[in-house]
């Protein structure tokens, strides 16, 4: 009797999860609204059927992830209006001396580096309009640059614990620290970066030639005027440098990444003359609520016992040391393919308890975490809607007012597919050859 009740609960929780995910992915209503509806339904129905309680729903929300995201959003909100990133962008563009290939590499490199610490959306929101302006001044098509910046921002974000929301979630669920991410994701991200930029240079070779008369690359933009607030720029940069430095040693100091980020916010606020109200307005509450609601939905499915059951089925395969590499590769490719089609956050949040559960079944799950992180990180590059950064770049291309600058879904796919298969192929080879490194 009890067994059949458990089965019913599993079906109910799976049904609610499925319904919520269909609403989220089809975008019939706003994804946060859909997730909140799902979370409320899961908790309410779970209480009625006795497989989920309000206490369990609250406990399912990963405070470490959400607090880390809030703190990083606040730091970015402080940094963004200072104009420091625009200054760097213009400096690099001038260093390229009108060579579009060099310009592509420089802009993509700076976008990747900032995406390792700041969120990808912010980085792209700053660099995409600036890129359009620079390319229009040079009279070259901005589309290759925008595609490149979005893709390499996604790849850069995959390198660190704080570069991408999925990584923050994976770090929190697995207990893997900032240094562990750099050391293990770095050897995968660097070759993926090189492969991607090489492919972009090859695929866009016809569009990356300067027009006659503009080879000198004079870019009549005054980068000095980009910096609107020097004191704030230095203060926030100082706080950000302190935060990143603390990230490198947070595990040695036994500090949570979220706590480290809040140290940065506290220092920045202390040094800043501005109050916290403006910073709070810059926090993307809708995104945070979306994540919190997803945690509650998946918590309900976990509480019903369904994820344990899935874990048990997978454990027979994953717990076998001889099958571990294959399991990790399967997670990596499945994560990439699914992230290419649907939002990678719901997929990541669903996978967290499954992989964590495998550990309790005796499987060695560390390689699975790395595989999941790189898979969801690279998967977003395939389609124009695979990541928010992509959508921003497409919108910017539509506003560029340059012949053939608008990036169509097919155009993105024609670049995204070879980029995914080549970068994931190289990453898989690295993973196979140096598998012991990822254990």
């Amino acid at each position: 009797m009890e067994h059949s009740l458990t089965i019913i609960n599993m079906w109910i929780s799976a049904g609610i999860l499925l319904a919520a995910y269909v609403l989220i992915f089809t975008e019939k209503i706003h994804r946060t609204t859909a997730a909140i509806l799902g979370a409320v339904s899961m908790t309410g129905i779970g209480m009625v059927f006795g497989f989920y309680s309000q206490e369990e729903a609250l406990a399912a929300v990963d405070g470490n992830t959400l607090l880390l995201l809030v703190a990083m959003m606040m730091l970015v909100t402080m940094l963004r209006p200072t104009g420091g990133l625009e200054y760097l962008g213009i400096k690099l563009a001038k260093m390229a001396r009108g060579d579009p290939r060099r310009l592509l590499v420089y802009l993509c490199l700076v976008t990747s580096l900032f995406s390792m610490v700041l969120d990808n959306v912010t980085t792209v929101l700053i660099f995409a309009p600036l890129t359009v302006l620079i390319t229009r001044i040079l009279n070259i098509n901005p589309a290759p640059f925008l595609i490149g910046e979005a893709m390499l921002s996604n790849i850069g974000g995959a390198a660190t614990l704080v570069g991408d929301p999925p990584n923050i979630m994976i770090g929190s669920a697995s207990g893997l620290d900032f240094m562990a991410f750099i050391v293990h994701m770095g050897p995968m991200v660097v070759p993926a970066w090189i492969v991607t930029i090489s492919l972009l240079l090859f695929l866009f070779r016809n569009q990356l030639t300067p027009l006659a008369g503009l080879e000198n690359g004079d870019i009549d933009l005054n980068e000095e005027r980009a910096i609107k607030d020097y004191p704030t720029l230095w203060r926030v940069t100082g706080a950000l440098v302190l935060t990143v430095a603390l990230f490198f040693v947070h595990h040695r100091l036994h500090l949570f990444p979220a706590y480290v980020a809040w140290i940065g916010v506290a220092v920045a606020l202390l040094l800043s003359t501005k109050g916290p109200e403006k910073l709070l307005a810059g926090v993307e509450w809708s995104v945070l609520l979306f994540f919190a609601a997803l945690f509650i939905i998946v918590g309900g499915v976990e509480s019903s016992g369904l994820l344990d059951l899935i874990g048990q089925q997978l454990a027979t395969f994953a717990a076998d040391p001889n099958q571990l590499l294959l399991s990790a590769l399967m997670v990596m490719w499945a994560a990439a393919v699914l992230s290419a089609i649907v939002d990678n956050i719901p997929f990541t949040i669903t996978m967290l308890p499954i992989i964590a559960g495998l550990e309790s079944q005796g499987a060695h799950v560390t390689p699975l975490w790395w595989a999941l992180a790189i898979g969801v990180g690279l998967g977003g590059n395939v389609t124009h809607i695979g990541a928010t950064a992509n959508i921003i770049c497409v919108a910017e291309s539509e506003r560029a007012q340059y012949p053939n600058s608008t990036i169509t879904p097919m155009q993105w796919l024609r670049v995204g597919l070879p980029v995914l298969f080549n970068s994931l192929g190289v990453v898989s080879i690295v993973f196979i050859v140096f598998f012991e490194w990822f254990l």
């Binding site: 309009p129 600036l130 302006l133 001044i137 009279n139 004079d218 009549d220 933009l221």
Partner: protein, 148 residues
């Protein structure tokens, strides 16, 4: 000083008009925009010179970085061909549905408050559905100078 003293009669944008016709009406009356009416003479919005220029002549990427731009970016300048094509566009392509309005009896303070709230420098004066003219911040300033 009464609102009725600063009302400036202007032309109206009617169905079928081109941007060029509307710009001419604005220039003749020295106002930044005029009301748009439908076939039943009902005001359905406004056409503003600034909005037309913003939509057609200044790309977003230039607006966002206006403070960075140098003075030698001539190849990004507005071409004669573009200006001609904009003037030839149907006016209905640029209708703004929001047209802040007042009546002849509206106090100055309220009219100014509406302008601030709507982030505009002019209002249409409409009495019982009939368009009387436009009041603008320049007209008010003019009346203030004359009145003192």
């Amino acid at each position: 000083m009464k609102l009725v003293d600063v009302i400036k009669p202007t032309g109206i944008c009617r169905p079928g008009m081109r941007v060029k016709d509307v710009f001419r009406l604005c220039v003749e009356a020295d106002v930044p925009g005029i009301p748009v009416v439908d076939e039943r003479q009902q005001i359905i919005g406004k056409l503003s010179i600034r909005h037309v220029l913003k939509e057609t002549c200044i790309p977003d990427f230039m607006v966002k970085h206006a403070h960075l731009l140098g003075d030698t970016l001539h190849h990004l300048d507005i071409s004669k061909e573009l200006l001609s094509s904009v003037l030839a566009c149907p006016a209905e392509d640029f209708i703004l549905p929001n047209s802040p309005q007042a009546t002849s009896n509206t106090p100055f303070s309220k009219a100014l408050a509406i302008m601030e709230e709507q982030d505009t420098t002019y209002l249409f004066v409409v009495d019982q559905g009939i368009y009387k003219g436009t009041i603008s911040i320049m007209g008010i300033a003019h009346a203030m100078i004359e009145g003192t």
